[in-house]
């Protein structure tokens, strides 16, 4: 496939890897912000190839992992509403969201207890589902970073345009930059450079990172997801670190312009406004989320189904996902990893989501290389 296969070329990857090794004078600590990057780094063995050269700290960029328990619990309650009220609600979301455990099991487990849950590929497919099933109330659980917000915003616009009143959004969108800032502010911070999330920047651009770079003197390189993209991003970080520089650079320029995608930003701005939002593992992140603007409130599932009460939130005690998400520990340092906590019986979201750091370690790391 064009724009995928050539960026997975082994020979080219080897050249970049050698370049990184040659430029590094001491081990640097680089955080890849996005879980998709974590996945790529482990899947292709790049993380292990770089051992002793560049330590990769895995970032919080797994949106389903940082989705707060309250939201997951609420979504589950909505999906069970048809059993206790006249609201024939069908909860729809992306496949990986449905596997994440809430306080009382995952959405798929709720399904086994009678919840109405459906996987969709796109929020716009959920609007079509609502059109086809006018008697049901379709709620789309809108999780994801700025990358996903244009799709859910467009879904709301489409629903409004077509008069689809039985569609609504349960919004749990999060914004990356405030979380990066929170990490840099933390006294535990070890991050010396960031690989910024390529697809978030494709939408949002990277001009707003300038202030972070100035304030914290930390290089930020916008990076893609294929092996060559990841290696190029790391190489650009290393070059800045070795020269003592701190700039915003784009290693993924085929998809990212520094101003971002203005059409996408316009659609997002029209529908959403910035809000404070609790992140799982972080607590409330100031300006860390998006919520529907006033004129779109009729599509807000939270408002529409206010009567739906949730039970108290229960966070599993043994799970150290908060530390993993904040880059404080590696998944292997968690006592429960691979023992009480596996993808089959996950304690925390990072073990279940395909982008979660724990799941990536479980899937791609050779057992003895770990513990």
């Amino acid at each position: 496939m064009k724009y995928l296969d050539e960026y997975r070329d082994s020979t080219a990857a080897r050249i970049l890897l050698d370049s990184i090794r040659r430029r590094v004078s001491r081990p640097w600590k680089v955080m890849e912000v996005c879980g998709g990057q974590t996945h790529g780094l482990l899947r292709y063995g790049i993380e292990e190839e770089l051992q002793g050269t560049v330590e990769l700290i895995h970032g919080p960029g797994c949106p389903v992992c940082v989705t707060p328990l309250e939201s997951i619990d609420f979504a589950q309650q909505l999906s069970m509403m048809h059993t206790v009220s006249g609201h024939d609600v069908v909860l729809t979301s992306f496949g990986d969201m449905l596997r994440v455990p809430g306080s009382r099991g995952s959405m798929l487990e709720a399904k086994a207890r009678g919840a109405q849950v459906r996987t969709v590929y796109s929020p716009l497919d959920a609007v079509d589902l609502a059109k086809k099933n006018p008697k049901q109330k379709i709620v789309f659980f809108a999780v994801g970073f700025e990358t996903t917000a244009p799709a859910t915003a467009l879904a709301v616009k489409q629903a409004a345009n077509d008069g689809v009143d039985n569609f609504s959004l349960l919004v749990a969108h999060v914004r990356v930059q405030p979380a990066m800032e929170a990490l840099l502010e933390s006294p535990h911070n070890r991050v010396q450079a960031f690989l910024a999330a390529g697809h978030v920047c494709a939408v949002m651009g990277c001009a707003s990172y300038e202030s972070l770079v100035q304030k914290y003197q930390v290089p930020i390189v916008v990076t893609g997801f294929e092996p060559l993209d990841l290696l190029e991003g790391i190489l650009m970080c290393v070059e800045q670190l070795e020269k003592g520089e701190a700039r915003v650079e784009i290693a993924y320029a085929r998809s990212v312009r520094s101003e971002g995608n203005l059409s996408a930003q316009r659609i997002v701005d029209e529908v959403y406004e910035v809000c404070d939002r609790p992140w799982r593992g972080f607590g409330v992140v100031a300006k860390g989320g998006l919520q529907l603007r006033g004129e779109w409130h009729k599509f807000d599932a939270q408002r529409r189904y206010m009567s739906c009460h949730t039970l108290p939130v229960i966070e599993p005690r043994e799970c150290r996902s908060a530390d993993v998400l904040a880059g404080r520990i590696k998944p292997l340092e968690c006592e429960a990893f691979g023992r009480e906590c596996t993808p089959d019986a996950p304690l925390g979201a990072p073990m279940v989501s395909s982008e979660g750091a724990c799941a990536a370690y479980f899937r791609y790391r050779t057992p003895e290389a770990g513990r």
């Binding site: 496939m1 064009k2 724009y3 995928l4 050539e6 960026y7 020979t11 080219a12 080897r14 050249i15 970049l16 050698d18 370049s19 040659r22 996005c34 879980g35 998709g36 960029g61 797994c62 949106p63 389903v64 992306f94 590929y121 796109s122 929020p123 716009l124 497919d125 994801g144 970073f145 990358t147 996903t148 244009p150 799709a151 467009l154 616009k157 489409q158 345009n161 999330a197 390529g198 697809h199 978030v200 494709a202 939408v203 997801f225 060559l228 993209d229 190029e232 320029a253 085929r254 998809s255 990212v256 995608n261 059409s263 996408a264 659609i267 982008e355």
Partner: protein, 84 residues
Amino acid sequence: MCLGIPGRVIRFTEEEMPFAKAEVEFDGVRRVVHMACVPEAIVGDYVIVHAGIAITRIDPIEAQRVFDELAALGDDEGWKHDTP
């Protein structure tokens, strides 16, 4: 997040913004994708598709750049030595 996959724009099925749609090809399959965020894209362009919408148009010149740089790295004696 953000599984975004490059696909080639085959034909527009709906031209009018903001609900413009196009058939986009991903290797052996095609899917109708929303084009609201890539008004500049035309048939034949590659776009990155995430959750059913195109979020950016791929710039073919920038896409080539890393390979030019790799060629330069390969030409440099120092690197050539180590490359397989």
